[in-house]
């Protein structure tokens, strides 16, 4: 099997799921004839037609709300946010309507809201965001954020088959930079399970999405230069969190660094730290440290963006501090 990119892996999942289940359809801005701003949905219109690949007006509230209504009736809509930053436009519909529907009204919303996320791409304040924390905070939503091409495909298939709303964050920095060979057959990666991206004994880095690759790079440097054995846990799913995988790595290495590209205050690193405190405080040999973005709207110019976002040297520095504790 040939290698395909992270982006192609997502597209492959969409093609396969549309073929598998006629209730699956696509809804979003410029996704049909144009194939989407990043071409993720390219080719779907030609194969499945306008009835199942629907170009919408610029109306995030409407397309998320319509997906919920269609979901109530047994459809499995996949909605594209042209940039995941625009989830904010649909915040009410997602948090007040979709997230509560099953609980308050026994109405399922089997839908996926997907879109390009994240920085390191000089996208500026509205094409680089990582707004996952606000949605992780909302009971009723599931949130996944893959780091590899294999997971991008397998998690997309799981998300489409899930009976609840899954927010599917696609890291645009990884779209064409990361490749993988897809496992044969019906490749589904379960939601809610973390992955060990790199095994290690001395300290653990818990992370997800683009910073998984930065953490692995840092771990290799630490091995080379310091002889440190660093474990890297790729969360893959942010809601529900894989507590077991987090606690297992804490108990194994006793030192934890959490890395994310999202801003610091209210970011998921705080939540993971709290869970470690509550459940395995006595296993810690050092305080849990964080490397995150600064609490700054993401700026455009390369020197500014590079300063604000976590980089490999930041991770190396934090890991050395942790190891020396």
């Amino acid at each position: 099997m040939a290698e395909i990119t992270y982006l192609e892996a997502i597209r492959e999942a969409l093609f396969e799921e549309m073929a598998r289940d006629e209730n699956v359809f696509m809804l979003g801005e410029d996704i049909g004839a144009f194939g989407g701003a990043f071409k993720v949905t390219e080719g779907l219109l030609a194969k499945y037609g306008e009835a199942r690949v629907i170009d919408s007006p610029i109306s995030e509230i409407a397309i998320v709300g319509a997906a919920a209504g269609a979901g109530h009736m047994g459809m499995r809509p996949v909605v594209e946010m042209q940039f995941i930053d625009f989830l904010a436009n649909a915040y009410d519909m997602l948090t007040n309507y979709v997230a509560t529907a099953r609980y308050r009204a026994f109405l399922p919303c089997p839908m996926v809201v997907r879109g390009p996320s994240g920085g390191y791409v000089r996208g500026g304040p509205f094409h680089s965001q990582n707004p996952e924390a606000g949605f992780i905070h909302t009971p009723g939503l599931k949130v996944v954020y893959p780091a590899t091409a294999e997971d991008a495909k397998g998690l997309m298939k799981a998300a489409i088959r899930d009976d609840d709303c899954v927010l599917f964050f696609e890291h645009k920095y990884l779209y064409r930079r990361i490749k993988g060979v897809m496992p044969a057959g019906d490749h589904v990666v379960p939601i809610g399970k973390a992955r060990t991206a790199r095994g290690g004994e001395d300290l653990s880095i818990i992370t997800y999405a683009a910073t998984v690759h930065k953490a692995v790079e840092a771990a290799e440097q630490l091995q080379r230069e310091d002889g440190l054995s660093v474990e890297v846990i790729d969360l893959r799913t942010l809601a529900p969190l894989d507590d077991q995988a987090i606690f297992d790595t804490v108990k194994k290495t006793n030192r934890v660094l959490i890395v994310h590209e999202d801003t610091r205050t209210g970011g998921i690193a705080g939540e993971i730290t709290a869970r470690i405190n509550e459940s395995c405080f006595a296993y810690l040999d050092a305080p849990v440290l964080r490397v995150t973005a600064h609490d700054i709207p993401l700026p455009y110019a390369p020197p500014l963006e590079d300063f604000v976002l976590p980089q490999v040297p930041d991770i190396v520095l934090a890991a050395r501090r942790l190891a020396a504790w």
């Binding site: 209504g69 007040n96 309507y97 509550e278 006595a282």
Partner: protein, 369 residues
């Protein structure tokens, strides 16, 4: 008229086809709406209603007349003053009473308030409190009808206030572009909470908004149940025939406050009394039956008695129902997992201690290394 708003003719052909029995049925649902709300007021004053109470006094014809234009297979989403529409769609008085009293076997098992509940089998989907949100949702419901080639129509109620929301705008525009079989009923009752219509929009009338969306627009006297039925039936038939979205403005008046706690201090003196005396939809329906259908006072009295009897029986059942079990709160946030775990402080702390490290502080010896 497409792309044009227009006032409906007095009573058109659709209402003219209603039989005497059907008109009596309209009266029955309006009677049920008003009397059930009066029963809820009594329960509210006895503190048996857990939350707020919302009345549709003076607006019963809108809810009942509009929903009566739907078929069983159609789906409707009501607003807080459309209890009558839910009754027409098959919601029962006992369900509504249990909802208001937060009973464990209420339709939402105590999770949601008042008439915020639904049943897709019977053809109604419960609203949520953020106004306008049901327009996009019903666009999705009707989009499914269209995709599946089903002969079904959707109807969504909004108030004058909801037309100012982004969700209303995005939803009706999306439905219009997709040419979905959706009827959007704007119930103009003069107030959104305390805000009068002229502070809600600079448009002369809400039906004018139809022009901007490129949909059919019609306005009708919302206190004339036959006019409401007529204008809605036309829109429903048009939607079923593939004619797309209609926006209907029903002119009515909210005689009670936003909810029972609302003193209506913002309403000009005499306004409520004038509407009650001169333009009550219930009185007008009764007069129509008497003058045009020759319905006798005895027939009316029999319907009224039947309604009272049904509500008495429903009240007994609802009051006897138990409240929900507390642990039920943890069930069904997701399909999978089926239930959330209680937090440790609700479990006596067991979950916390099992993670304690036996060897104590400051050692690497965990068995893993």
């Amino acid at each position: 008229m497409k792309g044009k708003s227009s006032k409906a003719a007095a009573v058109g052909s659709a209402a003219a086809q209603l039989t005497r029995a059907q008109k009596l049925e309209l009266y029955y649902w309006m009677r049920m709406t008003r009397t059930l709300e009066e029963r809820l007021v009594a329960l509210y004053r006895q503190t048996k209603v857990v939350g707020g109470l919302f009345r549709s006094l003076g607006q019963e014809a809108d809810a009942v007349g509009a929903c009566y234009a739907l078929e069983r297979r159609d789906i409707m989403s009501p607003l807080i003053r459309n209890m009558g529409a839910m009754l027409v769609k098959g919601a029962t008085p006992v369900e509504i009473l249990k909802q208001y009293m937060a009973k464990g076997d209420s339709p939402t098992r105590g999770r949601e308030l008042n008439i915020h509940f639904g049943d897709t089998e019977r053809g109604f989907i419960g609203q949520i409190s953020p106004l306008g949100d049901m327009v996009p949702v019903m666009a999705g419901v009707t989009m499914t009808f269209k995709m599946r080639g089903q002969d079904r129509v959707g109807l969504v109620f909004v108030g004058d206030g909801a037309t100012s929301t982004g969700a209303f705008h995005e939803g009706i525009n999306f439905a219009a572009v997709q040419k979905l079989p959706l009827v959007v009923v704007v119930e103009n009752n003069g107030y959104a909470y305390s805000t009068p219509t002229h502070k809600q929009t600079a448009a002369a009338q809400f039906v004018d908004k139809a022009i901007g969306y490129g949909v059919y627009g019609e306005q009708a006297d919302g206190n004339d149940v036959l006019a409401v039925y007529d204008v809605t039936k036309r829109a429903v038939d048009r939607a079923r025939a593939g004619g797309g979205v209609s926006l209907i403005e029903l002119m009515t008046y909210r005689r009670k406050g936003h909810a029972e706690h609302d003193s209506q201090s913002y309403v000009p003196e005499g306004e409520i009394e004038r509407w009650a005396a001169e333009n009550d939809p219930f009185d007008r329906c009764a007069a129509m039956l008497r003058d045009r259908e020759g319905v006798s006072p005895d027939e009316i009295a029999a319907i009224d008695a039947r309604v009272h009897q049904e509500i008495d029986a429903a009240t007994d059942i609802a009051e006897a129902s138990p409240p929900p079990e507390a642990l039920d709160a943890l069930i069904g946030v997701y399909g999978e997992p089926a239930a959330e775990k209680p937090l440790w402080f609700r479990e006596g702390g067991a979950a916390l201690t099992e993670h304690e490290r036996a060897q104590g502080w400051g050692t690497y010896d965990t068995g893993h290394v």
